[in-house]
Subunit: 463 residues, 2 copies
């Protein structure tokens, strides 16, 4: 990157917040996918005004700009595919306000998800979206990628909590979309156009989020099955019963074994599958629902069923679920961590089809996910240095995408499209939808310098 | 309208579904506002293909196209401001499917809201959005205007239930946005861009809606207050208590008197205000919440508190609330039925300010609304033949808008922007947001023939 630009950036954010040395930049070359593209420079702005100045500078010089939170993205959204400037939001990390009376929080994009959840909890409030990476991921990244999490089944995903966004548009203007008013507003929903737009339409500089009252109590249950099918069946029966559990997480044997190997917390390594179930609310309802769920598990042939007796015990169960992503490495160095989401009654079919695909391509596919809302994680494991295995993984990936769409599902329930799933985006949205996406992108970012090459501006071959 | 066009329209939908006589067209000249603009022709297509053919014909000849459901719109969205073609969706009224396992319904735009709610109820499911006009309004209109209703406080408004839309774009292409998968999907949310776009970006031809499990039981309560302020205070205290009522409706004395005059159901005409409160869910929770709400009402100085003992009694209470709109006519022939929505803790302030505005401009303002989520209906009543009163009403309206925005609220919680609130849209979204709206409209409808003159394409003076 030429020194004039670097000097301008230093003038905007201060010397120490511009990183252009190779060893600094390399840290920002990847996110939680296996892609690897080095940016030319990393800048860390502290204010909206600095973001505006960076965007205007980039626009004038036609330099790609990619926003970034903690880099926990699973679809390549936070990598600088075309080089240029990474705008790291780490310094914009203030929780500006938590308004308990109106259950609304205003945060900067660099706030860690768990930090907001913790601060809200101190006021008796809950911020439900809880991606597995929530102790590292930022709210800006969560909004840009529309992250989900186990609690999605009861509470919804990030988009259901975004009330208003302050966004620096590619032309350097600042727009404030939506309204802090909880629940209601009419008109085309710009907030929702920008939520999940993965930094391709602008950079988020402030977020107004809806909070809910914290549930009075909760119960965490573990159901262990000999056969994965019975666990999947429990999901369908529970969801059809009218109970809305807070979470309904499924893990197959491979996920259990990998997690146990990594964490050593006494998971049942011979089980075909397990469910991690939580219910929350007022005590009487929680009691009733837990009882009914226990009965459903028995009806579906559960091998072992336990209810966490203490918060610490519940936390230990959750550690298992949250540890899966890191446990993948126990099986293979590379993964395609998919988030195929299908109508919830078809979860057993998706599970079965994924196992067939694994067999067909002779490649391990681990299955876990938020089964309650049909948001599953068939995860293809391989070593990309093994060329043949890499090819088989790619074929398996295509098959997972095809099966998901055939079942009326969506490619992405929570990880975003980014670069990883961009080749398949047209297959999901259709040619007219794809053109609509390109047209709207072109009118907001005519020079295509905001996170180029992603989503509707992917330049490779389309499926 | 020239006969070539009329003949082409007849060829598309059949002779009997093209109405071009003055006496037919005049019926379609207004909606539930007081505007009056006669279309040149009204057509009633039966299929998506017919809608496509109509849109293509209109595009070729640059004829304005305005979609229309039941015409219950309160912001002028369904009137043909520039004449041209009204596309009446009355014949596209099939409920295509209700999938109980996945809690998803697919409907055509002309389905009456109440009809879907009734059919869903037969399968133990609830479609919550319940605008007062739900026995007449259509789902297409509800989606286009992003309608709300009393149940919004617990369940959310129409937008929270739209999963996917099939839309005929201005270029005649058909796009299917979103996905029938309940809850989850990433990417810029085209479904939400089109929901609430009031027919300015395309015509909706199919809607996939999320349903929820019907609550096992509910309780309807009526709380009568000497002073309106105490009713408003009850709202704040209830919402802060952590209880989420299904509905929390407020009526002031003027609303009570007008409704009683129209319906004669024994409402307390001397009361300063009343609340209509409902809670639903599992029996134990409903019991607990009703008890706690009764205590809160007592703490806030309620004069009389009763719980409906039978479904018929509850229905009678609801008849009062739903009858308000029709009762307005008892006071004055014209109204500005606003849907100012403010942070819920500020409902008492909005009520107070509205009373001040009424006094200042010497014009009656009736107050009712969905107080639980801050979505209030300050309704300005007048006779537009009385020029001086009309002018005072306009001034009062401007003041209501200004106060709402000053309180951090939104102009529209559920009625839409349309033509009525279009002059104030820029004040709400700001100059950058307004330009974004115009830009997106221009890229999707470059010839501006879809519902012209509304929302971002309003041509009058802007505030």
């Amino acid at each position: 990157m030429n020194s004039t630009i670097l000097n301008e950036l230093r003038r905007i954010v201060g010397d120490r917040y511009v990183m252009s040395e190779k060893e600094d930049r390399i840290i920002y070359a990847s996110d939680s996918t296996m892609f690897d593209y080095c940016p030319d420079v990393v800048v860390q702005p502290a204010t909206r005004e600095e973001v505006v100045a960076i965007v205007k500078l980039a626009a004038r010089n036609n330099i790609p700009v990619t926003g970034r939170g903690a880099g926990t993205c699973l679809s390549g959204g936070a990598i600088a595919l075309k080089g240029g400037i990474i705008v790291d939001m780490v310094r914009m990390n203030r929780i500006r306000s938590i308004d308990a009376a109106n259950k609304v929080a205003v945060v900067e994009p660099g706030v860690i998800t768990f930090e907001l959840a913790s601060q809200a909890a101190k006021q008796g409030l809950l911020y439900p979206p809880d991606p597995s990476s929530w102790k590292e991921s930022t709210l800006g990244g969560n909004v840009a990628e529309c992250a989900g999490g186990p609690k999605g089944v009861k509470y919804g995903i990030t988009r259901n909590f975004v009330l208003s966004l302050e966004v620096v548009l590619p032309n350097g203007q600042v727009v404030e979309t939506g309204n802090a008013v909880d629940g209601d507003m009419c008109g085309p929903d710009w907030t929702m156009l920008l939520t999940g737009s993965e930094g391709t339409l602008g950079l988020i500089t402030a977020i107004t989020l809806r909070l809910v009252s914290a549930p009075i109590t909760k119960k965490t249950m573990l159901a262990i099955y000999e056969r994965l099918e019975d666990a999947a069946k429990t999901v369908s029966v529970t969801m059809a019963s009218g109970i809305i559990p807070t979470t309904l997480e499924l893990m197959d044997n491979m996920a259990i074994v990998a997690t146990e190997k990594a964490l050593k917390i006494g998971l049942p390594v011979h089980a075909g599958g397990l469910l991690l179930i939580e219910v929350d609310g007022v005590p009487s309802t929680v009691e009733e629902n837990a009882k009914r769920i226990s009965e459903i598990c028995q009806e579906c042939g559960v091998m072992e069923f336990k209810i966490a007796q203490t918060a610490a015990e519940a936390e230990k169960l959750w550690a298992a679920r949250r540890g899966i992503a890191k446990a993948f490495g126990q099986i293979a160095p590379c993964k395609y961590a998919e988030d195929a989401t299908v109508p919830r009654s078809l979860v057993p079919v998706l599970v079965e089809k994924s196992m067939e695909i694994a067999k067909k391509h002779n490649i391990p596919i681990l299955i876990c996910g938020h089964a309650g809302d049909g948001n599953m994680h068939p995860t293809i494991l391989f070593d990309k240095r093994d060329k043949a295995a890499f090819e088989r993984a790619e074929k398996a990936l295509a098959d997972v995408h095809i099966v998901t769409l055939e079942l009326g599902g969506t490619l992405s329930g929570e990880h975003g499209i980014g670069f990883a799933k961009a080749p398949y985006l047209r297959a999901e949205v259709g040619p007219v939808g794809y053109k609509l996406g390109k047209d709207v992108k072109a009118v907001i970012d005519p020079e295509n310098f905001m996170n180029p090459g992603k989503m509707f501006n992917y330049e490779g071959e389309l499926h």
